[in-house]
């Protein structure tokens, strides 16, 4: 019984960690999404000339 509880706790912890990572790094992920989206929309966006 206790073993089962421990497992459930661990699974819960794992899912919280993923959400936590996404939340804590959200500015970073937002930046990556912005760069990818605009690079697809415009070829000159992610070039050294534009840097």
């Amino acid at each position: 019984m206790s073993h089962h509880n421990n497992n459930a706790l661990q699974v819960e912890k794992g899912s919280i960690d993923i959400v936590k990572i996404l939340l804590e790094g959200r500015a970073f992920f937002a930046l990556i999404v912005i760069i990818i989206v605009f690079s697809m929309l415009s070829p000159v966006y992610f070039s050294t000339g534009n840097f």
Partner: protein, 312 residues
């Protein structure tokens, strides 16, 4: 694109210090304009009619004097907030008008255009700050990263940094445990002013013109960069690294929208939505943290009870 970010980043770092102590600095946009105009005025030469003299200070003197002016403006804000107990919002709102007015008075509403200097007078090289690249990176961005590294070390490695965080967390408790709260508040506004002055110099150098209307609404962009970086407006929470990321998000988003040709009106709508979404996520994060800490307490309690039960 990245030199655009440099201005927002410098303003954002200064703003972060103020927001960490639980205050807010609405005057950075006007301070930026005032300092830019002041630098332009110095580069065009200062004449003292009574002594029949004219000064043409070289660029590094101009930079130092301009940063001092920014620090002075910040110090006025800081004294008002820390010692006269004027609410930060009101004191810096007043300074927003005063500094903008002073910038307009300095130039009579005109713009200084000839900032390149004269080789005979030895004050050339101002546009180097905004235009040139070192190792392929614009100088403005290098200035931003130097400022960021210094501020990062100050916040995480020095007692001063811990004082700032504790002042923002609970000013009364910090004061009772020996933190010089008033001095900390004064110094964060000075730091914000100096950062705004550096941003003003970089902007004036990029445009090779110093206008008194530059940087209108930049204070709000700076606040947005800090908030997107996950800092709390209540104070005590936030880092330089995330603020820089916030500045990059705002700058890259704005420039990307320009490049793909979205109308200026839609740009405002997008930027506003991003800011609101970021603040919403902040709340989710804080409540998740509180919940997880409560949960940890509960499990610890259960364990303690369990061990007690097994002992008996």
């Amino acid at each position: 694109m990245s030199s655009h970010v440099a201005v927002f980043g410098l303003l954002g770092i200064g703003m972060l210090f103020v927001i960490l102590t639980g205050g807010i600095d609405l005057s950075v946009g006007s301070t930026l304009a005032l300092c830019g105009v002041f630098a332009g005025m110095l580069l065009e030469g200062v004449e003292i009619e009574a002594l029949d003299l004219a000064f043409f200070p070289s660029v590094w003197v101009v930079v130092v004097l301009t940063c001092l002016l920014g620090g002075l403006v910040g110090a006025i804000n800081g004294v008002l907030v820390a010692y006269f107990k004027v609410p930060a919002f009101v004191a810096t709102l007043g300074m927003l008008y005063v500094a903008r007015g002073a910038a307009l008075l300095l130039t009579d509403g005109l713009t200084f255009n000839s900032l390149s200097g004269d080789p005979a007078l030895g004050n050339t090289g101002f546009e180097w700050l905004g235009f040139n690249k070192l190792f392929g990176i614009p100088v403005g961005v290098l200035i931003l990263f130097c400022a960021a590294v210094i501020c990062m070390l100050a916040l995480s490695r020095t007692p001063f940094g811990r004082w700032i965080y504790s002042t923002g967390g609970n000013a009364r408790a910090a004061e009772l445990s020996g933190v010089p709260v008033n001095r900390v508040k004064l110094s964060v506004y000075i730091i914000s002013g100096v950062c705004a002055a550096m941003a003003g110099i970089v902007l004036a150098s990029q445009l090779t013109s110093a206008g008194p209307t530059a940087g209108t609404t930049y204070e709000l962009t700076a606040i947005a960069a800090v908030v997107i970086g996950g800092a709390s407006l209540m104070g005590g929470r936030g880092t330089v690294r995330n603020t820089l990321l916030g500045a990059f998000v705002i700058g890259f988003l704005a420039d990307g929208l320009v490049i793909i040709g979205v109308s200026a009106y839609w740009q405002m709508v997008f930027t506003g939505s991003v800011i609101v979404f970021a603040v919403m996520l902040n709340n989710v994060q804080y409540s998740a943290k509180r919940k997880s800490s409560q949960q940890a307490e509960k499990t610890a309690e259960i364990k303690r009870e369990g061990s007690r039960a097994s002992a008996t």
